[in-house]
């Protein structure tokens, strides 16, 4: 069972699936990033995605009916895309109007927009098709899929792999990943991007130097609506070829957490959405095995909560480090603190994986029948649970106070090595004997710790030791 998972992960098909499922997260995430940087976090992404996904399907289906099979099939997807994005932008303008003009609370207005998107799509779908679940009895179109030239497949060694990953991807996938660059350029290389960031960081100061904050925020919301709209179009006209009620399944909310994990930077957001794409694709892959689908389905949501936690801890540490830098002035040892921060992220990450272990263990305990009966499930649950608790407890001190990573560097190394040995060991046990696998895991774990900054901590300790004594 696990072999097939592992083989599946390293296949081109899996990476292709990862890109495909990362797209509807990446697009709204870019929208969330832009709105967040402008100080008007767009909670309504989910509703906007639904609105655009539905409009796209309806417009493409009707253009097929009205324009005839040939022109309809050629123009339909693009008309649907335009109409869908237009609806999302209108919803964004509505949000902006209520928040910026009528002083409605941003978060509650966003919630209202989500309800509106979810309800209006179902109500109109019921009126048009008589069905309240999906539009399967309406023939709608999909945006084109891009075929790579076949010579890429002929390139030796890497060719087939690249071809397998990038061939036959939706236009929207390409648009999404190209948008990362566009957003980066807009944010960091144009006056508008500078105004946008200023409006988010300190609206009063921005206003005082003549930036029209309200207008900038309107623009940011409109842009986030465009991206949410594109994401919705991908859901209903690329990923699937119909509209289902509430088909976005929380992606608009996940998108709010993705930029946080990506350090509020477009490129980080792109990478973070790939992480979510990985979890999503993994959930789909595991779902095809003999495991109840509910368990892998939890993973993207847990990952989102983890992203929030990691961001919150990072933000706090950055503040402390900044305060230390201010206090120590010239003596501040920047590389050393960078190493500490990197290691603390490692600790948080390791603890978070153990939290997933705890949740899996809870699932096993609560519904043993789903995993082959109490006799096999309970010992497994106990094992996973105990190991997870030990690993969490071991990482906790380093998460609570980052300085401990430096003051107890060897202990930190031991904990990281142990955790990684367990995780990687479980994984490598597929290929080697258990003992060998654990050993390799431990070596790799120690290496990761050293590379991430442990090396520097150990050196620093040795050099400081005589000085302090």
């Amino acid at each position: 069972m696990f072999e097939s998972v592992v083989q599946g992960i390293f296949s081109a098909a899996f990476l292709a699936a990862m890109l495909r499922v990362a797209t509807p997260i990446l697009l709204p995430s870019l929208g969330a990033l832009l709105s967040d940087r402008a100080g008007v976090i767009n909670i309504g992404l989910e509703g906007m995605m639904l609105g655009s996904a539905f409009t796209g399907v309806i417009v493409s289906a009707y253009s097929l009916q009205w324009l005839g099979p040939e022109t309809g099939a050629a123009l339909g997807p693009w008309l649907g895309l335009l109409a869908g994005v237009a609806v999302a932008v209108l919803m964004a303008l509505l949000l902006g109007f209520f928040h910026l003009r009528l002083k409605a609370d941003l978060i509650l207005s966003g919630i209202a927009l989500n309800i509106l998107g979810s309800a209006a799509t179902v109500a109109i779908m019921y009126e048009l098709t008589g069905d309240r679940g999906n539009t399967s009895n309406l023939r709608s179109l999909v945006v084109p899929f891009i075929q790579l030239p076949s010579f890429i497949n002929d390139i030796p060694i890497v060719g087939p792999f690249i071809y397998g990953v990038f061939n036959n991807q939706s236009v929207m996938t390409w648009v999404a990943f190209l948008s990362v660059g566009v957003v980066w350029y807009v944010l960091y290389r144009t006056p508008f991007g500078m105004h946008l960031r200023a409006a988010g960081e300190n609206p009063a100061a921005a206003e005082s130097v003549g930036i029209r904050v309200v207008r900038t925020r309107y623009m940011a919301l409109v842009l986030s609506g465009v991206f949410a709209g594109l994401g919705g179009i991908h859901m209903s006209m690329g990923y699937l070829n119909l509209f289902q009620r509430d088909m976005t399944a929380g992606r608009g909310f996940i998108a709010l957490a993705v930029p946080l994990l990506g350090g509020n930077h477009p490129i980080g957001t792109g990478l973070a959405s790939l992480v979510f794409g990985f979890f999503d694709a993994l959930a789909i892959r595991i779902g095809s095995l003999q495991i109840p689908s509910q368990v892998p389905q939890m993973i993207p949501y847990i990952a989102t909560v983890m992203a929030l936690v990691i961001y919150a801890l990072q933000a706090r540490q950055t503040l402390r480090v900044r305060a230390l830098r201010a206090a120590e002035g010239e003596n501040f040892n920047a590389p050393r603190w960078r190493a500490i921060q990197r290691l603390s992220v490692l600790h948080v990450f390791l603890a978070m994986i153990a939290v997933i272990g705890l949740i899996v263990s809870a699932n096993l305990l609560a519904a043993p029948n789903a995993f082959g009966g109490p006799d096999s499930a309970n010992p497994l649950a106990a094992g996973i649970g105990v190991i997870s608790i030990i690993l969490i407890a071991a990482s906790a001190p380093f998460i609570a106070r980052v300085e401990r990573t430096a003051s107890h560097a060897l202990l930190s190394a031991a904990v990281s090595t142990l955790s990684l040995a367990v995780y990687l060991g479980l994984f490598l046990a597929l290929f080697f004997e258990v003992g060998v696998a654990l050993a390799i895991g431990a070596i790799l774990g120690a290496a990761v710790w050293l590379v991430l900054g442990g090396r520097r901590l150990i050196q620093r300790d040795q050099r400081l030791a005589p000085a302090t004594s």
């Binding site: 100080g39 976090i41 909670i43 209520f98 910026l100 003009r101 009528l102 002083k103 409605a104 609370d105 941003l106 978060i107 509650l108 207005s109 919630i111 209202a112 927009l113 309800i115 509106l116 309800a119 209006a120 179902v122 109500a123 019921y126 009126e127 309240r132 609206p203 009063a204 206003e207 904050v213 309200v214 929380g250 909310f253 996940i254 709010l256 957490a257 946080l260 109840p292 509910q294 368990v295 389905q297 939890m298 949501y301 847990i302 989102t304 909560v305 929030l308 936690v309 961001y311 919150a312 801890l313 933000a315 706090r316 503040l319 949740i359 699932n363 609560a366 519904a367 029948n369 789903a370």
Partner: protein, 585 residues
Amino acid sequence: MTAQRAYRRLWLALLALLVAVGVTYAISFRILGGGSNLDEFVAAMTAVPDYQNVLLVNALVGISVALFIYELRWNAVRVVATVAIALALGYLMTAIFNLDNANRFTRGEFRVAIESDAEPVENDDVELEYGQRRGDEFNRAGVAEPLRQAEYRFEGRAGDEVTVLAYAANRRSLVNLQASLIGPDGETLASATSATEAQLDAYDDLVSERDAVIENVTLPADGIYTISVSPEPLPGDLIVSETLAATNQAYEAFLLGPLGRVNRWAVWIQDALSLILVGLAIVIVFRARQFSLGAEGQIYLGALAAGVVVLNTSALPGILLIPLALLSAMVVGFLWGLVPGALKAYLGANELVATLMLNSVAIRFFDLVLTYQLKPANVGYVVSENFPDHSVLPVIVGGTQVTVAVFLVILAVIAVWLLITRTPLGYEIRMIGANIRFADYGGVNTRRTIMLAMAVSGAIAGLVGAHLSMGIHRMLILNISVGLAFEGVVVALLARNNPLVVPFTGLLYAYLRAGAQFMERDANVSFEVVRIIQAVIILLITAEAFITFFRRRRSPRRDTVLRGQGPEQQMLEVTTPAAEEKASV
């Protein structure tokens, strides 16, 4: 001054009481059978089983109205106005959905007949001969190219006197027909759009005056004649009047549906019980300005906990089992509220996203346990066993699911009111809601308070889950709650986060939800209309500047942003913590 205020308060209380009595009487009168005088009413009422308890619940509805008026005073007008505007928008939307209502006059099955005393002419190339009839269906739904016009030919001789009938084929078909007779040279000889009373009497086939009759035409020449039939084009005023009629019918079902017989009333009341509890849960977190929507997940886990306790310890007598199940649901809800509470309070993780994600996790967990652990093996769909009779909440109105949860809700309202206004925790919650930095400065342990607020809210949400499983469904089902947390947001916002007003707003919103169900059933308008109304209500009620908007337009708006962070935003009891977060990170 104080005397004057007390005097005013007294008047307000009197007014509230008067309205309360009126509402109680009106509701009871409608659902318990009416009658033209008091004796008839009493006779009809006493025939209803458990009518005392129905009256009791109606009295509680009246008290809720009184509390609403007394607590909110002028703001009550605003709440009512907001709901009225939202309902008006909903009416507009329903009208748009009903725009095609007049189209029923352009579709349906029809028949064409030709009658004549003359001898029929035999011709195999044409469709009709004298005395025969043919038919088809206009504008059938779901067809790629629906029939819009039909033509039938017959052969006639000069001097034959013929009558052409075009009529709806059956009672279901409402098609409004027009017919014309076209001669061999292509010239229209006669046409008709309707049938007179006399014609209706003379020809048995005719159904209504919408049918068309061309009577006694003498054919001018030998040859092939054509009868052309089509639906009459719709006049604009008919479209309007039909749309309005259908919309009015839908809205009548919407606004008066819940006040039908007792079973319809019960749909309203039992939904209100859930909504009031969810509203209370949301009030607690909103008071601390935490945008936690974790109620959804807590409802699922509360229902699961209650279900597991009931199914596993059914040997206990009901008097022990029911409190135990309720308590375990509350504990589980409390713990599941503690998780995002701790994440928010100690790590600063955005509570809205965190709770929404944890909801998804909780729902998957519920599905997992129900599907694989609680579902009896011999049942085809995913439900648990029926709860034993002694473990469900005792019913107080026979034949409905209006249970002792009524009293639980009263207790919960009082408890939350006491918690918020009379306890240290409530004081701290209010302080955090008013100004978190000031609360911190004043020595409030803000982290602990935020965490506890979200956890206590979770306990009440857990109780909702227990009510759903032990009171309404009496078993565990998939999708036991569909977005109740969002409904709770509306209830709390309409109540301006005042726990004493929540019963009224919960009843009001449940009334709309129940009405929407009846509208869908009676008038085939989607239930989702009420959720659109819900979104509009949230937008309008949070838009503090809505009323002053038109005034403000005239004034220069140079410093909008600065003003947005000023005292105006504080007017709203619930405001975004995003600003504070930004400042503290």
